[in-house]
């Protein structure tokens, strides 16, 4: 499987603030690549750098094997994107907006072709309505039609589910699956809706304060053979110091106040609990934490 996006040492500083710090990652062809991070983690800045809207302070971006700084036009020809909310020309109709962005990508589409594309996102009936009369969900769907109008190989979606109702979110999820699985497109998607990401993404990149903190395939990161457990104790810091002197040291993921998160094999859990009792450690509660949300919070909450 060849790589579509190859980012090396990407850094962006705004005056004193480093928004993205030495970020390195690879997105392989086909599939859905989830890009996670808290608000202000640097997701949008990274996406804007991938689309050449922001100039990196340092680092290298290669997309489709080409250097973005020297092959911008060829690369953008093959990318469709929604960046944050899909703001379009409110004083134009849906079909005029679609036609305009198709033309910007070098396409001359007939009304029938444009209508077909609007049909796919369920907006054919409102093709001649001005965007200012559209709901947020309709704008989002039109934004997706605009992003896909030139049949791109790589689709970059920055928070595409923002402001959508449950049906709208389900529609977007279905569309992402269709693009990835049926049409073989590569989808790079950022979202803070972790449960949705868990459903659509094959691979994940998690950043925190501009730095990469996890990357890998979803099934490897959320390995069902591995149990992630959260222990509540008197002092997580003291327990951490104690565990670091034992063979459990490399099982610690994070500590925060009275809580410590660890990852171990399922059969190791009872052994660990017995050992805690032998070490006379007060454990107030123990929870299994295996969802993407648990994993994400474990990585980013400290």
């Amino acid at each position: 499987m060849s790589s579509i996006i190859d980012v090396r040492g990407l850094t962006k500083s705004f005056n004193e603030i480093t928004a993205v710090d030495d970020l390195t990652f690879t997105v392989n062809e086909k599939g859905v690549y989830g890009f996670l991070g808290q608000n202000g983690a640097g997701k949008s800045t990274t996406i804007r750098m991938l689309l050449s809207l922001i100039r990196p302070t340092s680092g290298e971006i290669r997309i489709f094997g080409l250097d973005l700084s020297t092959h911008r036009k060829e690369i953008l020809q093959r990318i469709g994107a929604i960046i944050e909310k899909p703001d379009l020309y409110k004083y134009l109709t849906a079909i005029e907006n679609l036609n305009l962005f198709a033309a910007m990508s070098g396409l001359k589409l007939k009304r029938k072709q444009l209508m077909d594309k609007l049909e796919k996102v369920g907006l054919a009936e409102r093709a001649d309505s001005k965007i200012k009369t559209y709901s947020q969900g309709m704008k989002q769907r039109l934004g997706i039609a605009v992003a896909l109008v030139h049949d791109p190989d790589l689709i970059i979606l920055d928070e595409p589910m923002n402001g959508l109702d449950p049906q709208g979110i389900a529609d977007i999820r279905q569309l992402i699956n269709h693009l990835s699985k049926d049409q073989g497109k590569t989808v790079f998607i950022s979202s803070h809706l972790l449960s949705e990401m868990e459903q659509v993404a094959d691979s994940l990149l998690i950043i925190h304060k501009g730095k990469k903190i996890a990357e890998g395939r979803m099934n490897e990161l959320l390995n069902p053979d591995q149990s992630r457990i959260e222990l509540e104790t008197r002092s997580a810091k003291e327990l951490e110091l104690l565990l670091k002197q034992t063979s459990w040291a490399d099982k610690i993921i994070s500590t925060n106040g009275q809580k410590i998160i660890m990852q171990m094999k399922r059969e190791e859990v009872p052994v660990f609990i017995r050992q805690m009792a032998e070490m006379k450690q007060d454990i107030f509660s123990i929870h299994k934490k295996n969802s993407l949300e648990d994993y994400f919070l474990a990585l980013t909450s400290h």
């Binding site: 804007r48 689309l51 809207l53 100039r55 036009k73 953008l76 033309a103 910007m104």
Partner: protein, 293 residues
Amino acid sequence: MIQLLKIEIFKIFKRPRTYIAFAVIALIIILIQVALKFGGKEYVGLMMSGMGDSFEEIPTKIILNGYLVCFVILNLLLIHIPILVALVSGDAIAGEANMGTLRLIASKPVSRIQLLIVKFAASVFYTMILLIWVAVLALFLSILLFGVNWLGVPRELQFNVMESDDVLWRYGLAFCFAAIGLICVASLAFMLSVFSDNSIGPIVTTVCVIIVFTILTQMQIPFYDETIKPYLFTTHMLGWKGFFYVKAVDGVTEKGSIENLSAILKSAAILIGYTAAFLGIAFWYFKRKNILS
């Protein structure tokens, strides 16, 4: 490139606000024409006062013809049209940033330079259409309403007279000169637009610059005549009047002459220089701009 230009022009003329300028110009010109139609005698009397007895005997309807009405309108309007030009040019980039569409168009396979060229070209196109609209209403409608005769242009201590067949070409060149002046204003608003994410800022700033510069240009203070005025683009925007200042030998106008063509050309060159500088800054900045809107 042509396709992109068509898109930009399409966007400009699809916005209702674009037509405000056309409506405002039509309103002002028609109001001036109505005023001169019904109160022209008083206006001409005022204009001719102090010009000597020889002019007082000329009937008003000869002096007050379409050519003079057009001159009066241009004299009043060419200071204010730049404000209307700023409405579109100041909105060119900042308006896109404000709407959130700048990030969308800047992530399309079009270079930023190309994007800026078509945006500015579309602003120039709008400016030219606006100027043609002024020409149609101020010149041709005035000719229709008031007829044609010789044109008398009052100056400080003299009165330049041109025969009726010696006028139209002067208006042609005056409008061409006005186009250069308005493009200069458009480039100023456009440059400010590149720096902003909200179109109010560049539009208001351009209007303020025009107002302040125009006041300075029209101030009759000798100290400013050589220190500031020669460097203000608003001073040079008045260069169109030069086409109506003629050479005279023994009090007789030399047909087809222009009193000081080199001054007009110098003003045009300065305006083009300003335009180039404004655009140069806009291109330099926009190529490096981080699009965060």
